[in-house]
Symmetry: C2
Subunit: 114 residues, 2 copies
DNA sequence: CAACAATATGTCTTTTATGACATAATGAAT
DNA sequence: ATTCATTATGTCATAAAAGACATATTGTTG
């Protein structure tokens, strides 16, 4: 038996930010384009854009700095808020994952500590 | 912003056991009947039964000791495996919840510790 | 000013999950 | 043997989530 965990952030009740969104933002940061990021993750641009918008609305935070037109048609980069968010998110989830593994071993696999 | 977490157990990939199932099992233990437990939780017997069956299959573990017929029509009680499972589950999730709160404060609210 | 590649949205379809309905089967008690 | 409240399941309807399709907008570059 394995233990799993999904960690996400909420603001006033609504869904907000979890691992899928984090990967999407990281891909945008790396590729400089939401369209390219969506392609890389195998999802439609429409879906990716929708997730970003929903997250921005839920957290009340602007995530992408966007330009349209121009050479290459435009692009998107992360706001500093977004960068800080994914940094803290990764730090947090990494730490929790370690703690969960440790506690799981303690409670479920080390019978004598019951 | 708040952090949320859903913890569940898996066995070979499938869903298995999380908080809803735990409450259902506890209600069965208290009431001696799956039917009564379902009523208490405001779900249909069909749904409750389906969840139990799915969990038993996923974990490869018998959860309910069942009798049909007789005075009162029958009833259900928890197997010792089931009792042990919810005990450990509660212990585990309780511990993780505390740790998550603590880490959240440390990473998201205590700026100087960045 | 026409072309281009990306952002920006509305809408429709498909899939998936959840719950509702109906109907057996059980077996002690009467 | 009839009754009764429960377990046991198949099937169908409904709701929610995810994805597909189409189309407009933008603004620099050639």
């Amino acid at each position: 038996m394995k233990v799993k965990c999904k960690i996400w952030f909420e603001e006033n009740g609504g869904v907000a930010f979890a691992d899928g969104r984090r990967m999407l933002l990281e891909a945008v940061e790396r590729l400089g384009s939401l369209n390219a990021a969506a392609k890389e993750l195998g999802m439609s641009y429409r879906a990716a854009w929708g997730k970003i918008k929903a997250t921005e609305k839920a957290l009340g935070m602007k995530l992408l700095e966007v330009t349209t037109g121009g050479k290459g048609g435009g692009g998107a980069t992360l706001t500093s808020e977004a960068k800080e968010l994914i940094l803290k998110y990764k730090k947090y989830t990494g730490r929790i994952t370690v703690l969960m593994e440790k506690e799981f071993k303690r409670i479920f696999e080390n019978e004598k500590s019951q």
